[in-house]
Point group: C2
Chain length 387, copies 2
């Protein structure tokens, strides 16, 4: 099992640079690290000084790099689907469709990247996987996928099997199954869907465990970056992702500009009260730890590496959800949102919380499941629901 | 019909700022403009000075703003699906599932945004729609969707109807249809799939028409931004999107830093030969027009607006694909890629071109369709295929 780390922050705050420094730090600590990027543009390679390929390659002792290429991941998944089809279908259909033909549709990037991360995790080869995504919304959707997808499965299986439609279609399913599949539908064959459910369940558990998957926020002193990082802090809770800390990029200037300015850099930096910036960020993100990083000068990563937080310290950060059965309360950690930005609905069998353009269907413990929310209030960054 | 504009460039180069300035410019020219952002974080509102809502609101004369919220778009689409279901199904199934419950899966952001753009376009209310996406990969996947999806439909319908499986399932389809639908399957009812095909076909045509949909590249003087913009230039061709020009952000410093420095800004700018940067960018992106923009000082957008290109001049830019039937050649414009970065396959009935993590199934005119590629060479940024 690997520790999976990712970084969230406004575009241009240095997320990718931070991901590289984090991977280098963990590798220097002796951990086997996979640095995985989903950026296929040349930018990542220029920053790292190496062009990555779609399979892991060793970059330095303990550090491996991989560039996810969705078209190739799709091709490989397609071959696996074909093998499954040949196993289960009497008349294979898709064998005539080649993986190299398949175009990439929206959503495939995230779905295939998450699957690739899962497989690298399962391989047991890496102590840590550092994931550099293609934007915060994508990263959150990706990590939210196991939970959202398992909700869809749960809800629609339930509705289908209890519906007139399900009962009407049932007599047709057996003949179709025996015509298409080699054999009759048996509980054993049907358990293929359970395999999918198990995969999703494993994914949800991993993402909910801060010692398995964690995100760090990245911000500069720019008020707009700080506001975005706060918004992402709240949004991450909605997909069950623990935020472990904040990395404050104190590079006032872009690295290429700092490089050109050389000795004149000091004059610019003089104008900025970096302690004041640190204080602002510290108070905005309490109780999270703040790690300040300098700009990157040339290829000298050491200063950045030294400034990285200790990624194994996740014990004290707030968890997305806490349940107190004695008081019949569910506490949802939702920093950066206020009551007006949050929508609570209970139309179906579950309670749905909408915030930050993420919908979170709250799975309640059996004692509270199916019961009505009696009250909801905001207190110290928590939304407290009473049942 | 609206002119649809979007902006591609490395994170942090100022894409969003450019989108706002472009929308303001078009509105000042008397066009009715919809500025649509998919960024739900507070950053867009801070830049614009207004918090947008999920429905268009007037920001200034002729300028309307809208913030796409995927969860809300999903809810509204779901209601439409329910109405369709009630029309066509004897035993509606999903009526028990509420739009407010539905979580957002990867890909829904892009699919629903494209649909929203299509509807605003069709409404006839706007002369121009300026779309600020959530990252280049997403924007390209979104605009590539009609073409890729229509390929999947074409390929799989074809395979299914010619397959043993299709023939085996056919006897079951009629009884299922009459059990589930109110009426028998008639060609008229089946034309529902044609409706989908027509929508996709309309989308493809619009995206391929540079007077309907166009992208502009945004870069700073940072070599990494220039390399990314070049990569995006090539990648956009792969989804059939015309690139109309380059916007060179000559703001050496982030806007918030420039604001703090005030009069000392000149000293920093002195160190940079901005003419040299312009020359580099001009030669890298020939034959595209380069428009240089300054940094944004406070709320003074006028200098940026003045520096925007003339978005109606799309006549001379290279088109993604040209066919010469006389010489039996297909010319694909693929700037920034070389032969090693491009993969050409012809496994299925179509020629597939892979570059920039985009797969493009090339639809050939009838005279060349189904024939083998006899030769392929790179010449002046074009990949030339001979049949």
């Amino acid at each position: 099992m690997s520790l999976i780390l990712t970084f969230l922050g406004k575009d241009g705050t240095g997320r990718t640079k931070v991901a590289i420094a984090a991977a280098k730090k963990l590798a220097l600590q002796g951990k086997k690290v996979l640095l995985a990027t989903q950026d296929t543009s040349p930018a990542f390679g220029l920053l790292l000084g190496v062009t990555l390929s779609p399979d892991p390659q060793e970059l330095s002792p303990n550090l491996y790099g991989v560039q996810f290429q969705t078209s190739l991941l799709l091709e490989r998944s397609w071959e696996e689907v074909k093998i499954l089809e040949a196993q289960y279908l009497r008349m294979p259909l898709i064998k005539e469709v080649y993986g190299q033909e398949l175009g990439v549709l929206p959503g495939m990037d995230s779905a295939l990247a998450l699957n690739a991360i899962r497989e690298y995790d399962k391989s047991g080869k890496y102590d840590a996987i550092v994931y550099d995504g293609i934007g915060d919304q994508n990263t959150l959707r990706m990590f939210g996928m196991p939970e959202v997808l398992s909700w869809y499965l749960r809800r629609f299986q339930n509705i289908f099997s209890n519906s007139d439609l399900g009962r009407t279609l049932l007599p047709f399913l057996q003949p179709i199954a025996s015509a298409v599949l080699n054999i009759n539908l048996t509980p054993d064959k049907l358990s293929q869907t359970n395999k999918a459910t198990n995969l999703l369940e494993e994914g949800r558990k991993a993402i909910a465990d801060p010692n398995r998957v964690a995100a760090y926020l990245v911000t500069t002193g720019d008020p707009s970056s700080i506001a975005t990082a706060k918004y992402l802090w709240g949004s991450a809770q909605q997909v069950g992702l623990t935020v472990g800390g904040v990395i404050l990029n104190q590079a006032i200037l872009p690295d290429w500009v700092a490089g050109e300015l050389g000795e004149d850099l000091g004059q610019v930096y003089e104008k900025f009260d970096r302690d004041a910036i640190t204080n602002t960020v510290t108070s905005e993100f309490a109780p999270l730890q703040i790690s300040s990083i300098p700009h990157l000068v040339g290829e000298d990563w050491q200063a950045l590496i030294n400034a990285m937080p200790d990624f194994s310290q996740m014990a004290t950060v707030p968890r997305p959800m806490e349940v107190d059965l004695a008081t019949r309360q569910v506490k949802l950690f939702l920093p950066s949102f206020d009551k007006k930005q949050v929508k609570l609905t209970q139309n179906g069998p579950e309670v749905t919380l909408e915030a930050g353009d993420q919908r979170h269907n709250i799975e309640l413990p059996p004692q509270l499941s199916g019961q009505s929310v009696k009250g909801a209030k905001f207190q110290n960054n928590y939304l407290i629901l009473s049942f």
